[in-house]
Structures are given as structure tokens and as C-alpha cells.
């Protein structure tokens, strides 16, 4: 089997690696178990914390500033509750189904109800013989699951019924987020790759897209395209806001949106650089790419807006930053700095089109442009990762864990095809699950959206019984 093993993220548990070694017929004498490095551990825990800060309050403020003042608290509340719900589901079964050995689409039950998640448990990284505490990995991945589900709420903001958000989130998290994370990120870890036969066995045990060689460093498919498609389906099924297209539905506080975008950016250093799982050069590369790609995207979006629409706007610059961050996410630890600048620039322009030209074509009231920014940016990033990961274009290439060096013969065309497969699988899988999840949520008493008079009065008062501001 000629498959090469990527320097991609995510891990298995040490137990998984051990099981694979048995599976491949090799019984090792008791080797000393690797001990987590304190630097790696500290880095991973800090990254998990700042990725949590991305959702609360970062995403909440970014989204909250974009809605009308009467819906401010409803958006914040949806972010908080989705976060809490997903973190609990993640603990009960999500982590187990995403990151323990199973089939190509779902993991197993090894960590069901937190079984075995002790301070001594370790998780693999991308270096042989290097592990991190599994609880740190658990927390880091929990933060990803939470923000992905929270991203979706932007699409149906200002008219969805609160109970429908919770029902949708539970179903979509279980049947879209968890399997996508498993498909893209689950592998038995580098230590399983002792020789070609063991490598073949380890590959066979990896996730559906991982085993095909899809590159997704920090979640272009799993997080951004995944959430964006669900949002778009939601925007279609929930329907347009009352007055959409003929009344002025203006953002109520763009300074908060700018603040939220800035918090997201800082958190994104944890998101992308933390996805290296170790405090090393790969993390530094992802860090710098996360710094410069959004800058290129801001310049691109602002220039496009200035030339195309007359004025360079603050909202445009903040949106450009997020577009660049989304674009660089799958590429962060794979591409060089030049590639990051090109990806940022492309994502900025593409997402500007995503929120204007494409939005008109889609005819959906994706209220806060979840698809326009996260979907379009995610697709651009996922595809360009395949281009700029090439060593000939300054990328780090694909690491061969059997030969313990970067593999020769990187094929840009071949990798693009694989990346495209990842995009299409995500679009279809997430879209189908979201459709079913929204249909089930619509069976709730009252349906998917609030009554028209409640929508006019605002969800803050009618759904939550409070107001964001003095009136």
C-alpha cells in the first residue's frame, strides 16, 4: 500500500496504538511508557483555554454585534447554551465516538462516560514517542466541538425558537460533528507506523478521509465547512426573517463585532498552533501563518470593497480577518508563509463574493453569513492546502512515518483531488444530517421559528424575558 502518512493532526489513545501493535501481530516486551513533556502539556492546556475563549465571548460578541439590539441576548444565550450542551455531550459520549478506534466513520465506546480518562492516560501527538495528557487533548477537542456547533447559530439568528436550537444541536453534533472529526482526524498515532505492514494496518484503522490522505490541520472541513453547510440548510428551512430584503435590518453594534473578531483571532492562535499538539516548530509555523493570512485577507476584502462598492468598511475589515482565519485553518501547519499570504488573499476576495454575489444566488437568509464566510473560506482553504502544502511551493509536504522523513513525489493534482473529496463528503454529510435534524426539531410544539409577533418584538424579551439595553 502506497499511502503516505500525513503530518496531520489528531491522535488516538495509547491503548489504540497498543491494540494495533497486537493486531499487526507484533508483541512487544514492556517498553517504558512515554511521559508527557511539561512544555507540550502547558501549551496544549493554554490553547484549549483560549479556544474556549473564542466562543465565549468571542463568537458571541462577533455575532451579537451583527444582529438588531432586540436580539442581542438571544444570540449570546444560544452561544452559551450550545457551548454548555456540547461540552456535556462531548464528555458523555462525543469524545469516545470521535477519537477512539471504531470503523471509518465513528469511533468506539472505549471512553464512553469518561471511562479511563485519568490524569495518567496519554494521547499521541505527531512525533514518535511524544505524548500529551489525554485529558488535555480531550479539553482541546471539546473546545473545537463547542465552537463548531456555536458557529451554526449565526445562520438562523433572529427568528429561531430556542428549544429548536438545542434539539438541532444535539442531533447534528452527534451525527455530523462527531463522525466528521473521526473521519478526518482519527488515526492510531505515529508510534503505530513501525514498518510498511504495520503502517497499512494503522491506515486501515484510521478515519475515512484521513486514510485517503486528506490534509486538514485544524478543521477547515470538520469545523468550518461542516458548520457552514448546516447553517445554510437551517437558513433555508427556518425561512427568511420578517422584512428581509425590504426593511433595514442593520447591525446594532459594530464595535462589538470588531471586538469579537479580535478575540476570535487571538483564540485562533490556540486553535491552529495548538493543533500541532506539541510546542514545536510546526506550532510556530501554524502560529505565523495564523498571523499573516488574515492580514492578507483584510487587505483583499478592503480593496475589493473599496474598488467594487465605493467605501472600505469596518465590518468588511473584521469579516476579512475571519475569512483569512478560516482559509488558513486547514493549511496552518502544512504551508509556508508565501502560501499563507496567497491563501489569505484568496479567502478574503472569495468570501467578499460569498456574502454578496453568492448570497444572492443562494436565496437564503443566512443572517450572519455563516456560509459566505465559513463555507466559502473553508472550501478555498481546503483546496489551496492541497496546492501550497507542496514542498516545491514552500509547504512541508507529507511526512512518511515509515521512512521517518518527508515523502518524495508530492502530487499537487492528486492532493487537490483528495482535498476536493474531503470538501464534497463534508458538504453532503453535514447537509443531510442538518436537514434531518432541522426536520426533527420542527416537530417540536411551535415548530422551528417563533411567532411573527414575537419575532417583531425581539427574541430577547419574548424568548428570554430580558433586554440587553435600557430603552
Amino acid at each position: 500500500m502506497k499511502l503516505l502518512f500525513t503530518f496531520c493532526k489528531k491522535m488516538p489513545v495509547a491503548a489504540a496504538a497498543a491494540a494495533l501493535l497486537l493486531f499487526s501481530g507484533e508483541l512487544f516486551a514492556q517498553a517504558a511508557a512515554p511521559v508527557p513533556n511539561k512544555g507540550d502539556t502547558a501549551w496544549l492546556l493554554v490553547c484549549a483555554a483560549i479556544v474556549i475563549f473564542m466562543t465565549l465571548p468571542g463568537l458571541g460578541l462577533f455575532y451579537g454585534g451583527l444582529v438588531r439590539s432586540r436580539n442581542m441576548l438571544s444570540v449570546l444565550m444560544q452561544c452559551v447554551l450550545v457551548f454548555a450542551l456540547v461540552a456535556v455531550l462531548w464528555t458523555l459520549y462525543g469524545y469516545s465516538l470521535a477519537f477512539t478506534p471504531g470503523n471509518a466513520f465513528f469511533g468506539g465506546w472505549d471512553r464512553l462516560f469518561m471511562k479511563g480518562l485519568t490524569p495518567e492516560a496519554t494521547a499521541a501527538t505527531f512525533s514518535k514517542g511524544v505524548v500529551v495528557p489525554e485529558l488535555g487533548y480531550f479539553a482541546f477537542q471539546a473546545a473545537f466541538a463547542c465552537i463548531t456547533c456555536a458557529l451554526v447559530v449565526g445562520a438562523f439568528a433572529e427568528r429561531i425558537r430556542f428549544s429548536a436550537v438545542l434539539v438541532f444541536t444535539t442531533i447534528w453534533f452527534t451525527f455530523a460533528y462527531v463522525p466528521m472529526a473521526h473521519m478526518v482526524w482519527f488515526w492510531p498515532g505515529p508510534d503505530a507506523f513501525t514498518d510498511q505492514a504495520a503502517a497499512d494496518a494503522a491506515t486501515a484503522a484510521s478515519g475515512f478521509l484521513f486514510k485517503r490522505g486528506a490534509l486538514d490541520f485544524a478543521g477547515g472541513t470538520v469545523v468550518h465547512i461542516n458548520a457552514a453547510v448546516a447553517g445554510l440548510v437551517g437558513a433555508w428551512l427556518v425561512g427568511k426573517r420578517i422584512g428581509y430584503g425590504h426593511e433595514a435590518i442593520r447591525p446594532h453594534n459594530l464595535p462589538l463585532t470588531m471586538t469579537g473578531a479580535s478575540i476570535l483571532w487571538v483564540g485562533w492562535f490556540g486553535f491552529n498552533a495548538g493543533s500541532a499538539l506539541e510546542a514545536n516548530g510546526s506550532a510556530a509555523l501554524a502560529f505565523v501563518n495564523t498571523l499573516i493570512a488574515p492580514c492578507a485577507a483584510i487587505l483583499a476584502w478592503t480593496a475589493g470593497e473599496w474598488i467594487g462598492k465605493g467605501k472600505p468598511s469596518m465590518l468588511g475589515a473584521a469579516s476579512g480577518a475571519v475569512a483569512g482565519l478560516v482559509g488558513i485553518t486547514p493549511a496552518a501547519g502544512f504551508v509556508g508563509l508565501g502560501g499563507a499570504l496567497v491563501i489569505g488573499f484568496a479567502a478574503g476576495l472569495a468570501c467578499l463574493w460569498g456574502v454578496s454575489g453568492l448570497k444572492r444566488l443562494l436565496r437564503a437568509d443566512d443572517a450572519l453569513d455563516v456560509f459566505g464566510v465559513h463555507g466559502v473560506g473553508g472550501i478555498v482553504g481546503a483546496l489551496l492546502t492541497g496546492v501550497f502544502a507542496a514542498p516545491s511551493l514552500g509547504g512541508v509536504g507529507i511526512y512518511d512515518y515509515v521512512a521517518n522523513r518527508t515523502a518524495d513525489g508530492y502530487s499537487i493534482g492528486g492532493q487537490l483531488l483528495i482535498q476536493g473529496t474531503g470538501v464534497v463528503v463534508t458538504l453532503i454529510w453535514s447537509g443531510l444530517v442538518a436537514f434531518i435534524a432541522f426536520k426533527l426539531a420542527s416537530l417540536l410544539p411551535g415548530g422551528l421559528r417563533v411567532a411573527a409577533d414575537e419575532e417583531r418584538e425581539g427574541l430577547d424579551i419574548t424568548s428570554h424575558g430580558e433586554s440587553a439595553y435600557d430603552r
Binding site: 433595514a248 435590518i249 442593520r250 447591525p251 462598492k309 465605493g310 467605501k311 468598511s313 465590518l315 468588511g316 469579516s319 456574502v355 454578496s356 454575489g357 448570497k359 444572492r360 453569513d369 459566505g372
Partner: protein, 112 residues
Amino acid sequence: MKLIVAIIRPFKLDDVREALSDAGVSGITVTEVKGYGRQKGHTELYRGAEYVVDFVPKIRIEAAVPDSLEDIAIEAITTAARTDKIGDGKIFVLELQHAVRIRTGETDDEAL
């Protein structure tokens, strides 16, 4: 007595207040208002969504003056609020029938 109602540009408020004070008008009431007239509104663009904002923010001043001060007050407002561009505003003068100072009970010119 006359009630002078003037719609002016918001940033001209201080100039107008000073001019009226110099002209001997002893008090004014100010309200923030919106309106439309010959001055066009503007368009706002939020990502792909464009909105035309028709109503322009203005300041409305109300001043009750004795008949003797009517022309002086109008002259003071006109001079102070003018920029010679569309949107400088308008002045309306109404006949005022009666006025009372609440604290003392004084009426009409005594109350102004």
C-alpha cells in the same frame, strides 16, 4: 408673542444657542429629530446588504419670544445656522396665545 420653531443641522446647535442668547432670547428647548426634505439621505452597506437611509438627523429648537424679538431672533438663527448648502434647515413661526411660568405664576411676556 411668537413661538419660533427652527430645524437646524446638529453641529450648528452651539452657534445658534449663542446667537439667540446674544439676541436676548432667554431660553430654548432642544429636541433631536429626524426628517427628510431636499437633502438626500445616504446609503449604508453591510457586507452584501445595502440600505437607503432616508431620514437625516436634525435638531429642533423651540423658542418663545416677545413680538419685539421675532425678527432679531430669526436673523440670529439664520446667520448662525447657515452653511449655504442644502440641508441647512427651516424656521417656522407660530402665533403664541398664552404663556405661564410655573414657579411664580407670571404670565405672557413676563413669563418668557
